[in-house]
Symmetry: D5
């Protein structure tokens, strides 16, 4: 079951140095683990913005919320979620 | 080069019967031809709306505009285009 | 799996008399069948508006889109869908 | 008398440690007491957001404002209230 | 129990002559009956607009929706409802 | 001459203790003095928000701005002003 | 007492020929009469739009609404009204 | 050549005492010098807001940007600029 | 003096056949005449939309409004105008 | 391949003195280097705002994101990107 997710990141000015680098490293590791597990099949950078559009593949709304609220950057992001369904013209469906 | 495209369809009330069915059939054929050619790798229905989110893969802005303005439903759609770039955390990039 | 759905209805001025009454009767029957089947556990009127807030309980995004796009009033409605998850403070969860 | 209430939480960065944990514990207890008393029959997490949609069942606008403004998190929330009425298609009404 | 209600009127161009005059007369009579009954204590014209701000005094959300949806102009209005509570600084409360 | 005024209050986190209590006490006294003088005939709490809808009765725009900008909470409020006129259906006009 | 007024005009497609020319001539005469009488001291075209920004000088909200609702184009305009007060830095005040 | 300019002021909480008074005095002097020179023919307070609507009379866009970006309060203001043209109904044009 | 102009076109459904082709041909000729005269130095299609972003180079606001309101498509366009000034980092200025 | 880019700058109040001057000098140098290289053919100041409209000429979305995210002011800017295509009426195309 697919969802389009947009994440806009706004890090506080007070987050600097090692603390910042560590947080970003944990975010990257968390994201790549989910990508490899198949729950996060697509992630793209929005050109010119500190933001991404992603596609998640999950079994339920609860699973999706668990994944998103577990993001190390979650407290610093604005997230919007759009449920997706199979399109009748999709040649791959 | 990828672009996220959202299309919202609003057919006029006066479009009915055979004329309507024919238009929708041409739209579907046009979309599936581009999907098979690789220019339109993803198309998803937005749940509850007569709308889709799609990903296009093109060589230039001009090519993308040609593909979109050639859609049989183009006169009846509101389209928004978001340029996408490679995300530094993408395990497939 | 629960979704909050808001439906805003805008009937065309040209829809009158028997045709209108018939459409509204089919909408009501369709809604009540889904309510009795358990897929549409809540429906409330928004005070002062020709609109409702509803809760749907479905197994997938595809099922939800099928139910919503099958509404007799679907061509005359603006629908917004919000995926819901279990709240950690919910005493009934 | 039912109201749909959306609460968006934005905790200040300066709220940390024990003070933060204590505030969240008091919020949870307050919410669960109202749920058990029947004034707050539904609470759902909005997927991907630090927000909830809730339904309140109260006797008056004054009672609803008292309940909401008494929330321990009230100073840190944006709240929107939508009055609900019985829907004529509701099979439970 | 008080509610602030804003009504924006948009009459269709096809509504003219006697039909229009009759509709407006029925709206005025309906409004004045509710004003005299005490359910509609205030009605003000918004300067420069075909719109009004009103205050309704009702016992429940259901009663308010019945009054508003019964307005002869209801199909031609956009209505927004804001629930009001007693203000702690109100010298008349 | 009547104006509908909405005031949304956002106190800074740094305003605490005696300073905060004193400011709120001065706001209340200021409001009640104007209510008793007849310039501020209505004040209602917006349910669920730190906001009010008020009606002011003044002789001029200048007088209204003097009253509003003199509010002790003025630096911490977002204010919107809507000029009101007599409604032709008003039974009290 | 001054008010800034913005008027956006949207004439229906069905208004053509003599009927349209006559309406616009009456609008111009009405506007110029108020300008000469001093109630409408400024009128400017918004560059690129069928719209104007105007300043009105009236004794009351009721007078302003009478002037605006009497505009021959009133049924075809969206109007927004902003009350103005004397600015403390105004060298002409 | 005329422009309608709206300026919304938001002073930081940290600007207090002499520094604040000095900044406001310089803003007033700067404004009044331009008013006397004829570049800033109108300035009005927006009722209930720390904002003004002004009309500027300049020879070019560059001159207007120089005047506005030179305002002592410029770093603390949100400014919107609307180019104005002669209205065909203007009796003074 | 430069202005950024965005034009969004919405042709009525009733405009078809020769009348439509003729209007579009006149629009193109009008645009190209201004481009060749130097008043309209840039015109770009917005990808996926029946819209353009253009840059105009004119001597005054009045001249710009004359050019824009003279567009054959003017009655069917929504136009927004942004005044531009020389940027201090522009290497060509 | 052209893109219209709008950049709105909001420097933090804490950025002052040498650190601020140095950042702005690096931004200017970075911009002018790209202008001279041909990737940034146009930059204009938005009148009255700390903002610019620019046109970028790049080979791909990835190149554009690299250029924009490399701006020294990137962490302090809100950026919006609009892909542009050749307009069929462009006399220079």
């Amino acid at each position: 079951m697919l969802f389009l997710v947009r994440m806009d990141v706004a890090l506080p000015d007070t987050l600097v140095g090692h603390e910042r680098a560590d947080l970003l490293a944990r975010e990257k590791a968390y994201s790549q683990e989910l990508q490899r597990a198949g729950s996060w099949p697509h992630i793209w950078r929005v050109v010119g913005e500190y933001a991404n559009y992603s596609v998640f593949d999950v079994r339920s709304n609860d699973e999706l919320h668990d994944l998103l609220s577990g993001l190390p950057l979650f407290p610093h992001m604005t997230i919007t979620v759009t449920p997706l369904a199979t399109h009748p013209s999709d040649v791959h469906a």
